[in-house]
Amino acid sequence: MTVEAADVTRTYELDGVSVPALRGVSLVIEPGDYVAIVGPSGSGKSTLMHLLGGLDRPSGGRLVIGGRDVSTLSAPEMARLRNETIGFVFQAFHLLPRTSAVDNVALPLVYRGVGARQRRAKAVEVLERVGLGHRLQHRPNQLSGGEQQRVAIARALVTDPAVLLADEPTGNLDTVTGAAVLALLEELNTSSGVAVVLVTHDRDVAARARRQIVMRDGLIVPPPPGQAIPAPRRPSEDES
């Protein structure tokens, strides 16, 4: 499955003033990709990530996720698309408080209509895979930051998504735990082929990705010599 953006724009209306966040961005996320989107704050990288994950719709241009043009999708269809194809990892983890790790991880399966027993089995399996098999019943406030982000990663993986979108996943972690979380994402990328899109303003983090997309003022900055951004392809050539 690919995610393809062609000349995508996104403009916010703030008190009657149009503020352009994206001013024409084209890129393709390939299956198994490992991309870092970098740039200073306000460059539009978070907006781009929300669009790529189907949380938001472009104001202009074409955005195709898994062969489906998001402009044709209703809100419930978008929700289903997110549930089935995208996994989100946030800087602030966004775990439900007072809810055990295993229930947090199982949450996306609730909205897929999976039964409680199967949900739990799958959640336990994924938590073991991220190295938290011993923390199933712990609540977020009983876990360290690194462990919380691992739970969040497990939650993103529980639906077997094609793309994992991580917005500053190491932003709230110290260097050592941050590196461990990145190593986990990289391991998942190579072992299970999930495409990983990292949004970060940390150049060191970005450098670990297979390719980098640098953003500034709502546009993609042309790549330095030796690195190329693949040109957009037609949706008919997509693998899904």
């Binding site: 949380l55 938001d56 289903r80 997110r82 549930n83 966004h94 609730v110």
Partner: protein, 394 residues
């Protein structure tokens, strides 16, 4: 999302904010309890009045001057004993006709005295109304014919004047005139806070002299059977109208009295229930308020749920269930409280309280409906939240 799951999530949310949930519920609890208690009191009062009217005896026809209507002022009676004779002729049996002339008087025995209702009556009263003499005997035809100064006391009057002593054969004075007690009524008890044993019966002829009048307040007729009661009433009214062309008369049956009283008590119950309903409404506004706060507080949670695949409907249903759960738990608690309070009121006060199943069902239904009505707006707001904005909220 599965329904069971949605209920679990809603219950968890309420449990997380126990104090707030409890206080929000309190509004609904009080509203529902008030509805249950007030409807119970209204219904109880209605039932008591019905029993009392039916307890007067069956096939009873009450003849009074004027109209028996909701809003008519009582007319001054022009009826006299000769009219009673005329009515007796119409009925064909004088023993089925009773009369009353009533006055409030002070009754004394020795150093004790009491202010009570003195009724001038015919000897037929115990046959027409249901009224048993507990001790001694009732007035006789010759007592009435010769205007003897004899009296039958209600149980309360007897106790007030004679304590535990037997009053039969003793002297009492009514409005300063000496009477001999010949009997005491069997107690009837209280109804709606009115003591039905607080009265004294004397012959109507004696009463006329005592009160200085020759009028009587009303006539009661015990009809031979239920079928001809209306026709008999019409004949009596026709006869009386002929004798008093300028006065209007009514002959009303127990059913008609019950109808009028039922109307009055029905309006009363309705007004009480409406007042209670307002407090339920206020409770509902409280639920709405708290749900809006809850939506705002959990904006990030809503954003996260949406990010992982919750549809707008899933979110709306979750919050709606939370509101409905608040009001139905509040409703059930309120019902329990209301039933308890109604029983307590029935026990401790003269006001009877009757709990009816329909009032409970109504209270529960209304509280669930309040949850839906006042939960819809916050739930829709939650469902429509933009996930990007929601996730960014601190």
């Amino acid at each position: 999302m599965r329904v069971v799951e949605a209920w679990r999530v809603a219950l968890d949310a309420l449990r997380t904010n126990r104090l707030r949930s409890g206080l929000t519920m309190l509004g609904v609890v009080i509203g529902v309890a008030a509805v249950v208690v007030l409807v119970a009191i209204g219904t109880g009062a209605k039932r008591e009045v019905e029993q009392q009217v039916e307890g007067l005896g069956s096939n009873l026809l009450i003849v009074v001057p004027g109209r028996l209507e909701f809003n008519s002022a009582p007319s001054v009676s022009r009826l006299s004993l000769s009219d009673v004779d005329a009515v007796s002729r119409v009925v064909g049996d004088p023993s089925r006709v009773a009369v009353t002339v009533t006055s409030g008087e002070t009754v004394r025995a020795g150093t004790r005295s009491t202010f009570t209702t003195v009724q001038g009556v015919l000897e037929t009263t115990p046959q027409v109304f249901v009224r048993d003499v507990g001790r001694g005997s009732y007035l006789t035809a010759s007592d009435v014919d010769t205007a003897r100064r004899v009296a039958v006391l209600g149980a309360t009057v007897a106790r007030a004047l004679f304590g535990d002593r037997d009053p039969v054969g003793q002297q009492v004075s009514v409005a300063g005139v000496r009477f001999r007690v010949i009997g005491v009524f069997a107690p009837l008890g209280q109804s709606l806070g009115v003591d039905r044993d607080d009265e004294v019966h004397i012959p109507v002829t004696t009463a006329h002299r005592l009160f200085g009048t020759n009028r009587i307040d009303g006539i009661a007729v015990k009809a031979p059977d239920r079928e001809r009661i209306e026709a008999l009433g019409e004949r009596i009214v026709a006869e009386l109208s002929e004798r008093h062309p300028d006065t209007e008369f009514s002959a009303v049956t127990q059913e008609q009295i019950l109808g009028v009283l039922g109307d009055i008590l029905g309006v009363l119950t309705g007004v009480l229930a409406a007042i209670a309903g307002i407090s339920l409404l206020v409770g509902g506004v409280g639920v709405s308020n708290i749900m809006l706060v809850s939506v705002r507080e959990r904006t990030r949670e809503i954003g996260l749920r949406k990010a992982v695949g919750a549809r707008p409907r899933d979110i709306s249903v979750q919050f709606l269930l939370e509101a409905v759960l608040l009001t139905t738990i509040g409703g059930v608690t309120g019902m329990a409280l209301g039933v308890g309070a109604a029983l307590l009121v029935g026990e401790l006060s003269p006001v009877p309280a009757a709990i009816t199943w329909w009032s409970l069902a109504l209270a529960f239904g209304v509280s669930a409906a309040v949850g839906i009505i006042f939960g819809v707006v916050p739930a829709q707001r939650a469902g429509r939240l933009d996930p990007v904005v929601a996730l960014r909220t601190e």
